[in-house]
Subunit: 364 residues, 2 copies
């Protein structure tokens, strides 16, 4: 059973929750905007469903609601940002703005971030570049759930990469992908529906292929994009590793199996080599390469050509990266955001705890 809420309802509730835990007006607005971009784009696992999780991190003092986010090292085209244990939802937009400012000055800007927390969806931050006629990039590491090829140990997070590219008449190209075969959120959906996972998504604690979506709770691991060696899992592993290196080795955040977990009840790893979790944000001005109009005309041609590629029987059309999320957003703007029962209950409990009135479903 799902209940439907308007964006404005969810935004007001989320903003007030962030205010209640001590965020400034500005940070509360930015954090609500970041978080809910996931719900709007149809990535339900990363949106308001996680709001109570962020609050629990604040309760155990692993999130600083009023951080002093700052640049601690920089060159004309690069910087390291210290997130001061803030919400990644506000730290990442700060860092992306630094990248955009640098790109405006010297053509490109690249910012590695330490001492942060989960930043929601990568797409939200990368897309900040689009209105400036820049290509945006965003990556983050995350707590270890993924076993490298030939291993049974969880060593990497689902470590997503987003690249957002502006076009002309066509909507922007936005590729936002976890470097695993399937994101953890997909397993959660299978668990709720009592369905089996596909081959190549997970393995059990002994490294055997498994279809059981509960495998992570039994010591199993998610698999890198590709699934197994024969299908290129060493490439997915390498991509996840690159995200880890750019996000944490360049900045001084934690990496590999030492990345602190999102659930507040899971203990922090021992012997952590860095501070918090790490992100990597980048921006390249399109006209640092060629006139923006020329670039965008060619992007339009690229997009139109791929959209009209011959379709395989049984499929409707060839998609451009970002199409499904943009369609979800257009739909949810008009028809509201459907939330499952457990998320609605979670909002109610959170509202009671913090003294914030939860929204009432169905009033759009």
């Amino acid at each position: 059973m799902e209940q439907v809420f308007s964006y404005e309802q969810l935004y007001e509730f989320t903003r007030k929750v962030f205010l209640r835990i001590g965020c400034t007006e500005s940070y509360a607005a930015i954090a609500a905007d970041s978080l809910l971009s996931a719900d709007m784009r149809g990535i339900d696992s990363h949106g308001i469903a996680r709001l109570s999780g962020y609050v629990r991190l604040w309760e155990v003092k692993r999130v600083n609601a009023s951080p002093h986010i700052r640049i601690v090292h920089e060159t004309p085209s690069t910087a390291v940002v210290d997130g001061d244990r803030g919400l990644g939802l506000v730290v990442a937009p700060f860092a992306m703005q630094v990248a955009i400012d640098k790109a405006r000055q010297v053509g490109s800007g690249w910012v590695s971030v330490k001492n942060s927390n989960h930043f929601g969806i990568a797409g939200h931050h990368a897309m900040m570049a689009l209105e400036h006629d820049m290509i945006g990039m965003a990556m983050t590491n995350a707590s270890a759930l993924v076993a490298p090829t030939f291993s049974i140990e969880r060593m990497l997070g689902t470590n997503p990469i987003c690249v957002a590219v502006p076009a002309g008449e066509e909507p922007a190209f936005v590729a936002d992908l976890a470097t695993t075969t399937a994101a953890n959120g997909k397993l959660e959906i299978l668990q709720r529906k009592n369905l089996k996972a596909s081959a190549g998504w997970i393995q059990d604690k002994n490294g055997n292929a498994s279809n059981d979506p509960h495998e992570l709770k039994k010591g199993g691991a998610l698999l890198p994009l590709g699934g197994d060696r024969e299908h290129g899992s060493h490439k997915g592993y390498a991509l996840g590793a690159i995200v880890d290196i750019f996000s944490a080795l360049l900045s001084g955040a934690n990496y590999g199996p030492w990345v602190p977990p999102f659930p507040a009840y899971v203990p922090i790893p021992e012997g952590m080599p860095g501070e918090g979790i790490g992100h990597f944000l980048g921006a390249m001005r399109v006209d640092a390469f060629r006139p923006a109009g020329e670039f965008k005309e060619n992007m339009d041609r690229w997009i139109k050509r791929f959209r009209s590629a011959k379709v395989a029987p049984g499929h409707e059309k060839v998609l451009i990266p970002g199409d499904p999320e943009r369609e979800a957003e257009a739909d949810r703007k008009v028809n509201g955001v459907p939330l499952i029962y457990s998320v609605v209950e979670d909002m109610k409990q959170l509202g009671e705890k913090l003294g914030v009135e939860p929204p009432v479903a169905g009033i759009l």
Copy 2:
């Protein structure tokens, strides 16, 4: 039947072949170095086996042996390089040097290249950054062999990405991967050995899964990393598309189905929107983020921790990206490069045609 040659033998032969088609001394040496790095690193499909193919491109005037390679647009951290139809084997090192020079000045350098040809292995160019304590990146587009998810049309090349990261005591991390499940070279090996391909590598002309390694000749297509939608092929497709955009849309090279093919007998696509094929090279100075010593210490710790991750039963060890290629190189430096019969014959014919003495096997 394989015959074994020393690196020096192959280098002298290759260098002389490039001199004979009109390369300068300097370009002939750079091109031989680029090309043979593939043989040394065990990527036999991209090395001397392709030498006669490069010469045939020169014969049909699609390669300019003495190009005027130049920067046509730049900002402090970015540039577009026009390869003047030169061998990618020399154009890419030129562009990578521009990226390195810019990184030295402003922290990072990013160069998109048009009007080039195939550049050999991405790893060779990305690794140029390592000795400068920089992270190196290299990508290239290539002629269309890959069908996007839900399509039966070949729209993208195998579009590789390489990221090379310096370490301290440990050897560098070098991830060099085609954005397909399996590279075309692997299919060629199966063809020779009369073996079947794995599921997820290729599809037939109607979009059905296939195990026939000859499928490409019958109108089939390679599949993006992931294989099918259920296993994340939309991610491999997006990665290949990003390579295409960075390499060609930023520079003004050809893209998508319009990228000119490597075999000289295959006609050039109609209505090409750009010039030649495109590459993208990047360099980031490690100390543009944090002191190089600190970074490299942490890279060592990262590498050691991943190398010691718990191994799945039936496997020997967990690899770090770049391990197999480095081991191949160490072996071939000592024991020489084994070449299959058809490649040895190809060298002989090429030598006769151009008046260059081919090397004699077995004299190491």
